[in-house]
């Protein structure tokens, strides 16, 4: 039976609070099993002091037989051995027995408890029915015994005596009594805990407060607080237990820090002792008694204390199922210990700490592995990887320390050191002796031989790298890889090293970390040199030579490496092709001429600006640019169409991609897009079907977006295999020296064949080394074109005036055609624009650069049909210019001769005059047809001339006399002199035109007019139609008579004769001498026929009356447009005029002047009235409609006037007009026709009459404003 054995206390999890049992041992034994089982079954709430949160707690107990020795002595602080409750068991039901034995025993028990100050006791009285039945005689009622006990021992503490009834029976009564017993026990236990732990904590706190006192010892205090932690652990309150250790940890840490700050505590002395043992953490035992004893004795070193403390924390954390916190705390602890030893200036053997850390890391990892399944471990790599990496690190430095990394192996000194280090490890702990993979064994093995070290180191490194990769910490993985590479390098295995270095470099480059890039690259260079990978090495050297992070000496060294290789002879080493970008950067390309477009055979220069990145000047044997020739877009078309592309500027700037230091912008953006435009043209008519943009380097761009790998920028150590494309054509320069910085190199570009030349690649050859820029981007092109000869004619000055000799400029672009001596231009002569022969005509020959090359006189020969111009010899792509004087004949007016044929058989295009929108002058297009020596076709050219004059004519009448007025208006911007103005009639010989113009010469200023007048005189009859020609000579002012040019104007006058004269008279009222405003006056209109009817007239518009007399119907109309008069009564009417000379008709109309003063006569209009006829009705020609429209228009005018006129009568005209319009639209209707200008002569046209004001009208209105 457990409780009765005197077992040594083992501080394990199995510890339980001690409960002593006194009294009837047999009774207790029978109940022990169910008691031990049932006690922890139900949790109990534990209310805590100091505001700590209450906890539910399952109570267990270790029941031991009561002995006086168990009771703690005065001053004993041990809590684990402290009995928290004392129970006295009895089943006595016999009063006698009680009195004789039990009571005495109880009293003894009580007194011994009292002497030790223990108040946590309980008496349990078990009663069974069996016992009652056995001794019936002495039986007292059950209660009496209990009462007795209570009265004897439990004064005022009745709860200290509990009855348990029939404990071994399965009845509800028994169960009930069990429950109450258990509850009582739990309550009492908790009460005891609270009381005793509280007291303990108070003592502990008091002790802690004394820590500033001189004799205070941390180790002593440590033991006290740990006791508390043990109790909490015993009660399974791991959290609270952990808190105790954390408090101890923090307290110690603070002391160390204070020590660092100069505040030394005496007790720290033991921790400052030199470290003699570095056996690492030991986490396999719940409590490392060895170390604990050391602490208790005050002999522990700092590492011992830390190790012990951590092992306890680790145990508790694992109980709390927080293994990952262990790893995190472990890492902190290890770092911290190293720091603390440094701070405390504890002397440690070199490498000893590395051993300790290494062992500890592995120990923690082993411990964690021991309590987690592999899947869990894998999922939580992020927590353990730090320890792996740390262990790797430490092993590496140990290896280096012990000479295990070098190629030669350890020296004797190294071996001594190893022995010292191994000595500090001590013997292997018993726990791990059987384990094959214990950290102790690993370290011992690793330090024992070079091979073993390598194996262990690689194993660890790879494990760490794998884990970093698994959790996505790629940078960390690469850093481990880099350190592995360094290891390989020291082991003389550059091949493996390079793999890791390249990977690391890739990451640094892609993220733009220049310093690591440079460092890693230097290591790679070393690898490559060792491996003999010449081309790669040279490439890396080139990168390093241009790396600004290095010192000039280093850069020069790498540059020299390249130059040394370049200097080797060909048979010694093959040629190496390197990327240009690391050597020099193409920054600018400039074409001369800037258009980058020349005709074939011309000189085109390209100036390249190269920024050399080398630290020293480099001599280059040859610098070449390969050129791709493309005939497709060749500029065979003339210059006007396809020539210099605007998109091709003369200067191309290349964007800078820094090879080493650049922030990731270049790599992030990927390679630049190379775009080209495409056009799809229909093969038949060359019209555009579609157009688009094409990306030429899609494969590069797309690849970069697909994978995250950095692009093939020069950053990469092994550049993309540079393919040298040989397109045949090259721009070459030999022997150039590139200085560091910008260099300018001038090339002469090939320009033999017409077409587009694209610059593709750039090569620089330095001995055996060739630097290649595989792609020149943005793509650079230049164009070589071939041009057809072209002839243009343009005015020397705008505008060209017709009728005057004008200079025109002939421009001949020779293009590819060389004009030979004797070549001539053949101009077809035309009547409308003759070429004027001139004495001296010189041609100028200009070079393509518009420089004057030569001048020579032209030989012009005119025959009847052609004018031949002999050209001077002109080289191709030159410009030939000469001036020629031409005259455009002003067309007369209406005569239109039949189309003529030109000399070359083409139908001659009659120059047609038209009005031009830009100028008021009338324009004429003149076509020229020129036969050129280079073409079998004639060249047709057009010139636009402008007629400087505008001419108008008017017929004026005075009774029967007729005058013709011609108005010449100068529309041009030039002044002219007009001379010899003449008017002639073509048909009537009898007619005489007498000039009334006095001046022979007259100045006609710009935008001004000149009027000329002639009186028409005739002998017999005035013909009704006159064909007139106006002619004049003109020239610019102040010129010789010979320069005068003729100007003609033809026109025709019809219905010249005066038929009627109209005479009006205003008669004042009978009594008055003058008219008065407001009084009616008489208006007498007298219409007189002046001539006999002509034949045509009679036939046209007269009819025979019934009485046989020929009459014409006329309509008169009195209209006053200025509201001076009011017409009273009929304002219009019809008269029948006999068609005979001197036939007169008089009409009387009443009018009233509305104002006083000299009033002009009201206007009298006479119109021809054509009554409707059948013929007209059948043929409603458009004229009649026009007449109708004008009539209605007239009507409207009348209407408007009617508004102002107060008195108004609507005449018949109105009714006739509107009525007819409404009723018989489209049917024959009477028409009104105005007379031609000279047919009616109005005598009283501008006559005025004096009107006096009304008599009493003296009021004058004055408006002052």
């Amino acid at each position: 039976m457990e409780c009765q054995e005197e077992k040594p206390i083992i501080y394990t999890m199995e510890n339980k609070p001690i409960v002593t049992c006194a009294g009837d041992q047999g009774l207790f034994t029978s109940l022990y099993t169910s008691l031990a089982q049932q006690l922890p079954r139900e949790p109990m709430e534990w209310r805590r002091t100091y505001g700590r949160a209450p906890k539910m707690i399952h109570l267990e107990a270790n029941f031991v037989q009561f002995k006086e020795e168990l009771l703690p002595k005065e001053g004993n602080k041990a809590l684990l051995t402290f009995p928290f409750l004392h129970i006295y068991w009895t089943d006595c039901c016999d009063t006698e027995a009680y009195k004789s034995a039990v009571k005495e025993d109880m009293t003894r028990w009580q007194s011994s408890l009292r002497t030790h100050g223990s108040a946590d006791w309980v008496i349990i009285v078990v009663e069974t029915n069996d016992t009652k039945k056995k001794n019936k005689t002495n039986i007292l009622p059950r209660s009496s015994i209990v009462d007795k006990i209570r009265s004897d021992f439990c004064n005022k503490q009745n709860d200290r005596c509990v009855v348990l009834s029939d404990p071994l029976k399965d009845s509800s009564r028994s169960q009930e009594s069990w429950n109450s017993l258990l509850l009582k026990l739990r309550t009492l236990l908790l009460m005891s805990f609270t009381k005793n732990l509280g007291r303990f904590e108070d003592d502990m706190r008091t002790l802690r407060e004394k820590r500033t006192q001189p004799g205070w010892s941390f180790c002593e205090y440590f033991m006290v607080q740990e006791e508390l932690a043990f109790v909490f652990e015993m009660l399974q309150q791991f959290e609270d237990a952990l808190v105790q250790y954390d408090e101890l940890d923090a307290l110690f840490t603070q002391y160390v820090l204070n020590f660092g700050a100069g505040d030394t505590a005496n007790w720290l002395g033991s921790f400052c002792a030199p470290v003699r043992s570095w056996s690492g953490l030991l986490l396999r035992r719940p409590i490392d008694m060895e170390k604990r004893d050391g602490i208790q004795r005050g002999e522990a070193s700092l590492l011992d204390l830390r190790s012990y403390l951590f092992s306890r924390q680790c145990t508790l954390l694992i109980f709390l199922l927080r293994p990952w916190e262990v790893t995190q705390r472990a890492l902190e602890l290890l770092h911290n210990c190293v720091q603390e030893l440094r701070l405390l200036e504890v002397s440690v053997l070199e490498g000893a700490l590395d051993c300790w850390v290494f062992l500890s890391c592995l120990e923690v990892l082993h411990r964690i592995e021991g309590c987690c399944d592999p899947a869990q471990l894998a999922a939580n790599c992020s927590h353990t990887v730090g320890l792996w990496a740390y262990a790797t690190d430490k092993l590496k430095s140990l290896g280096e320390l012990c000479g295990l990394v070098s190629e030669k192996g350890p020296t004797s000194e190294d071996l001594n050191r190893t022995v010292d280090l191994l000595a500090g490890l001590g013997d292997e702990r018993p726990e791990t002796v059987s384990s094959l993979q214990s950290p102790y064994k690993k370290l011992k093995e690793a330090l024992s031989s070079v091979e073993a070290f390598e194996r262990h180191y690689l194993e660890l490194s790879h494990a760490a790298m794998e884990m970093y990769r698994a959790i996505g910490r790629l940078r960390s993985a690469r850093l481990v890889g880099k350190s592995l590479a360094e290891f390989y390098m020291r082991k003389g295995d550059p091949e493996r090293a390079e793999t890791f270095l390249q990977e690391a470099l890739k990451s640094y480059t892609s993220e733009g970390w220049s310093l690591p890039v440079t460092h890693t690259r230097k290591q790679i260079a070393e690898c490559q040199k060792l491996l003999g990978r010449t081309e790669d090495y040279l490439q890396t050297s080139a990168l390093l030579a241009g790396d600004v992070n290095l010192t000039t000496e280093e850069r020069k060294h790498f540059c020299q490496e390249i130059l040394t290789f370049a200097g080797k002879s060909e048979d010694q080493s093959p040629k190496a092709t390197l990327s240009m970008a690391v050597f020099a950067q193409l920054t600018r390309l400039q074409f001369r001429p800037a258009t980058a477009s020349v005709h074939s055979g011309a000189v085109l220069q390209a100036e390249l600006t190269l920024r050399c990145l080398m630290p020293v000047s480099v001599h280059i044997q040859q610098l070449a640019v390969s050129v791709h020739f493309d005939l497709e877009r060749a500029g065979t078309n003339g210059r006007s169409k396809g020539a210099p592309r605007q998109t091709n500027p003369g200067t191309v700037e290349f964007s800078q991609a820094h090879p080493s230091a650049g922030p990731a912008s270049s790599s992030a953006a990927g390679p630049p897009l190379e775009l080209d435009e495409i056009e799809d043209r229909s093969p038949t008519d060359n019209s555009l079907n579609s157009t688009g943009v094409v990306c030429k380097n899609t494969h590069l761009v797309m690849r970069c977006h697909d994978s995250a790998s950095p692009p093939d920028t020069p950053n990469c150590v092994s550049p993309p295999s540079v393919t040298v494309k040989d397109d045949g054509q090259m721009l070459k320069v030999q022997d150039v020296t590139l200085e560091p910085g910008n260099n300018s190199i001038v090339f002469t570009a090939p320009s033999g064949q017409p077409g587009t030349y694209t610059l593709r690649q750039l090569y620089a050859t330095v001995g055996q080394v060739q630097f290649v820029l595989p792609h020149i981007y943005p793509s650079v092109q230049y164009e070589v074109y071939s041009q057809e000869p072209q002839l243009t004619v343009e005015p020397l000055s705008e505008p060209l005036l017709a009728g005057l000799p004008q200079m025109v400029k002939f421009t001949l672009l020779t293009g590819h055609y060389a004009v030979k001596k004797g070549d001539a231009l053949q101009l077809s002569n035309t009547d409308t624009m003759p070429v004027l022969p001139s004495a001296s005509c010189t041609a100028r020959i200009n070079s393509p650069a518009a420089e004057l090359v030569g001048e020579s006189s032209l030989f012009i020969q005119s025959s009847e049909k052609v004018t031949s111009i002999s050209l001077p010899a002109t080289p191709p792509y030159h410009t030939l210019e000469f001036h020629l004087e031409v005259l455009c004949v002003i067309p007369h007016g209406c005569d239109r001769p039949a189309n003529e044929r030109l000399t070359n058989g083409e139908v001659r295009h009659r120059p047609r005059s038209y009005s031009h929108p830009d100028t008021p002058m009338t324009a004429i297009d003149q076509r020229m047809s020129i036969d050129c020596p280079w073409s079998i076709y004639s060249t047709l050219l057009a010139l636009t001339f402008y007629i400087p004059f505008k001419t108008k004519h008017t017929l004026l009448s005075a009774g029967n006399r007729k005058y013709i007025q011609v108005c010449v208006q100068n529309m041009s911007d030039v002044n002219f002199t007009l001379a010899e103005v003449q008017l002639a009639e073509k048909q009537q010989a009898t007619l005489e035109l007498q000039s009334l113009n006095t001046k022979t010469q007259q100045l006609l200023c710009s935008k001004h007019s000149v009027f000329c007048l002639w009186e028409v005189r005739w002998k017999d009859d005035l013909p009704s139609c006159l064909q007139c020609i106006f002619s004049a000579n003109f020239s610019p002012p102040k010129q010789d008579v010979s320069t005068f040019k003729p100007f003609h104007y033809q026109f025709q006058l019809e219905r010249v004769t005066t038929l009627y004269s109209v005479r009006a008279e205003i008669l004042p009222p009978a009594s008055e001498q003058h008219c008065r405003s407001g009084f009616l006056c008489g208006l007498e209109v007298c219409i007189t026929r002046l001539t006999e009817p002509t034949e045509g007239e009679a036939a046209e518009d007269s009819k025979t009356d019934a009485d046989g007399l020929k009459t014409t119907k006329l309509m008169y109309e009195v209209a006053d447009s200025s509201s001076n008069w009011a017409v009273c009564g009929k304002s219009s009417g019809m008269v029948s005029m006999p068609m005979a000379a001197d036939a007169t008709h008089k009409v009387q109309i009443e009018v009233m002047p509305l104002f006083a003063g000299h009033l002009p006569f009201p206007k009298i209009k006479v119109l021809k009235y054509l009554p409707h006829t059948a013929a007209v009705a059948i043929q409603p020609d458009p004229d009649s409609c026009v007449e109708n429209d004008s009539l209605s228009l007239l009507d409207k005018v009348l209407d408007d006037q009617g508004d102002t006129a107060s008195i108004r009568s609507r005449g018949s005209v109105h009714s006739v007009g509107s009525g007819d319009q409404q009723q018989q639209k489209g049917v024959a209707m009477p028409r009104l026709e105005p007379f031609a200008a000279g047919q009616v002569f109005n005598h009283s046209h501008t006559q005025q009459v004096l009107v006096l004001p009304a008599t009493d009208d003296h009021i004058m209105e004055v408006n002052a404003t």
Binding site: H335, L343, G386, G472, R473, E511, W513, P516, P663
Partner: protein, 142 residues
């Protein structure tokens, strides 16, 4: 206080990195670069749980035997990294936080400069001064 202060662009290239001149500059470059692993880990972890309500200060990224590396991420994903000597125990979390705040303010000023084009390395003298201030204090205290 600090032995190395770095500003790292969103794309993870350094915008600014300075360390105390007495120590190996290269080592700090490696340290800061490696710390980006943890920064990214922390950003993605925070991003999942809290959304936009995120703390800029990332806390201790990882300790090494000699240094403690702290991180801070602005809303535009620019990272600040401060490396502190492990032996410097006087620095608490709060001090580190205030250093980051100061750094952030100064960085904001740099970004507000119309002549600074974002994405370029920081050349500002004012910023340099702030950083120097944080590093000088180290020299005086240690």
């Amino acid at each position: 206080m600090a032995v190395c202060i770095a500003v790292i662009a969103k794309e993870n290239y350094p915008l600014y990195i300075r360390s105390v001149p007495t120590q190996n500059e290269l080592k700090f470059h490696y340290t800061v670069h490696t710390s980006l692993d943890v920064v990214e880990e922390k950003i993605s972890a925070v991003g999942k749980s809290l959304g936009d309500q995120r703390e800029l200060y990332l806390g201790l990224l990882y300790p090494t035997e000699d240094y403690k590396v702290y991180g801070y991420v602005t809303n535009s994903k620019v990272k600040f990294v401060i490396v502190v000597d492990s032996s410097n125990t006087s620095l608490r979390d709060n001090e580190i936080r205030s250093m980051f705040r100061k750094l952030h303010n100064s960085f904001t000023d740099v970004m507000c400069n119309p002549f600074h084009s974002p994405g370029n390395t920081i050349q500002s003298k004012a910023f340099d001064g702030i950083v120097s201030g944080m590093m000088v204090q180290t020299a005086s205290t240690v």
